[in-house]
């Protein structure tokens, strides 16, 4: 692999120009949708997730991680607590493994059932600076959404979260209910697909299978805050506790932008450090990529990736 070089510092670059200043769009995602039902379902989930969800109550949403015993992230999950059941959104390509984990460890004397909602339910996402305004235009009856909660109206679930400073609204509807799509259509708002979401998620630093694939630690992908070190044992807890006690994170997820194609894979930069490009997408505004970079690499610099000048930004400070 050729050694690439840091070319020149670019202190005038503004991360906001490549990150958040895009208008709201709606995406239809192919997320994995599951429902865990039965007595003790929260406790069962809590045994599996790196995140403490033991106190989740009806109407709450908690984002969590599933990690392997080496502490690497194998799925990123959003839990929506309904009445005696939890609706789980996960990464579609990880669904077989995640469902295997969720079903294999069910105690023999617990009647817990995991159900597959992939076909009967749909996951839509609104992201962009005016996400809430767009939602209010489509569905004026929705009250202001609060983080870590969700609102259930007309058999639809609406939930707001903030990721790297970006407002994201998750909407879950039944597949046979086109009312939301119809309302959007009347307003001339298109529902975009997974290819368009890929651009948005890379610009926001939202992990997908490329980042949550049992190779990277929670802190590597900006999800360190979803690890609860005081909840007791969970898969990966020993590793996370050791990392916490022995020092800070070594890598961080960063955004790369270039006018040329950014190839996935590992690239060396001048100081000998290596960045690992995990996701990459081409747009009219250039190529955007997610890279796992050494934490001491400065942001707003121009680097040379395989001969192409590229700018590197952090998704947010303290990440």
């Amino acid at each position: 692999m050729p050694v690439n070089h840091v070319v020149v510092a670019n202190p005038s670059a503004d991360p906001m120009t490549v990150k958040s200043e895009f208008l709201a769009r709606i995406y239809l995602l192919d997320s994995s949708i599951s429902v865990l039902k039965g007595e003790g379902h929260v406790n069962h989930l809590n045994n599996i997730l790196s995140t403490d969800i033991s106190h989740i109550t009806t109407g709450q949403r908690v984002n969590g991680l599933i990690c392997d015993s080496n502490g690497r992230v194998s799925d990123v999950i959003s839990c929506f607590e309904l009445d005696n059941e939890t609706l789980l959104l996960g990464i579609s390509r990880n669904s077989i493994q995640t469902r295997d984990i969720l079903t294999r460890g069910i105690p023999w004397n617990k009647e817990l059932v995991l159900m597959d909602g992939d076909h009967a339910l749909r996951h839509l996402k609104i992201s962009g600076v005016d996400s809430e305004e767009m939602l209010n235009k489509i569905h004026p009856d929705i009250p202001p959404l609060a983080e870590n909660k969700f609102c259930s109206i007309d058999d639809k679930i609406f939930s707001k979260s903030i990721h790297n400073g970006n407002i994201v609204i998750d909407i879950i509807v039944r597949s046979d209910d086109d009312s939301f799509n119809n309302m959007a259509s009347v307003l001339g708002i298109d529902i975009l697909g997974t290819q368009d979401w890929e651009v948005s998620r890379i610009r926001m630093g939202y992990p997908s299978h490329n980042e949550a694939n049992s190779k990277l630690l929670p802190s590597d992908i900006g999800m360190g805050e979803l690890v609860s070190l005081n909840k007791g044992c969970y898969p990966g807890q020993e590793i996370h506790a050791r990392l916490d006690s022995r020092g800070s994170a070594k890598r961080r997820m960063s955004l790369i932008r270039s006018d040329s194609v950014i190839l996935k894979g590992k690239h060396k930069v001048l100081d000998g450090s290596t960045i690992n490009v995990t996701s990459s997408v081409e747009t009219e505004d250039g190529c955007f990529a997610i890279a796992i970079a050494p934490i001491d690499l400065s942001q707003n610099i121009t680097i040379d990736i395989a001969g192409a000048k590229s700018e590197l930004y952090f998704y947010h400070d303290g990440f």
Partner: protein
């Protein structure tokens, strides 16, 4: 009604449980320790070995001497009058385990060696 409620709306159940015919190895020391623990209740009580989510490695063992369960779905093994029950749900994870007993003040007690485990945590109670 809610997004999952209402008549005629149901979701398919995910079932990834693989059921295998379980064989286990019970060492002589484990057998002796179990006999002592059961203290004459071998007719009515069984050793129930199970696995469930938890622990640092993903799954945790559980062993308990209980009255013979009336529920179905158990595989019943007999070792010289000592009955060991393992539920079908846990059969693929526990097939082939070796149950030993170490008579030691430090780190003693029943121990499970599991050929299906790719990793165990330090205390030996959790595996993946």
């Amino acid at each position: 009604m809610g997004i999952l409620g209402g008549g005629g709306f149901s979701l398919p159940v995910v079932s990834t449980i693989e059921v295998v015919q379980v064989t286990i190895e019970l060492t002589e020391t484990a057998k002796s320790a179990l006999s002592a623990s059961m203290s004459g209740d071998e007719e009515t009580h069984v050793l129930l070995v199970s696995a469930q989510s938890g622990g640092c490695s993903g799954f945790m063992y559980d062993m308990a001497i209980v009255e013979e369960p009336s529920e179905s779905g158990f595989q019943k093994l007999d070792y010289d009058g000592i009955k060991i029950f393992i539920h079908d749900k846990d059969s693929s994870m526990l097939n082939g385990i070796r149950i030993d007993y170490k008579d030691s003040l430090m780190g003693g007690g029943f121990q499970i060696d599991n050929p299906n485990a790719s990793k165990s945590c330090g205390c030996g109670q959790s595996f993946s």
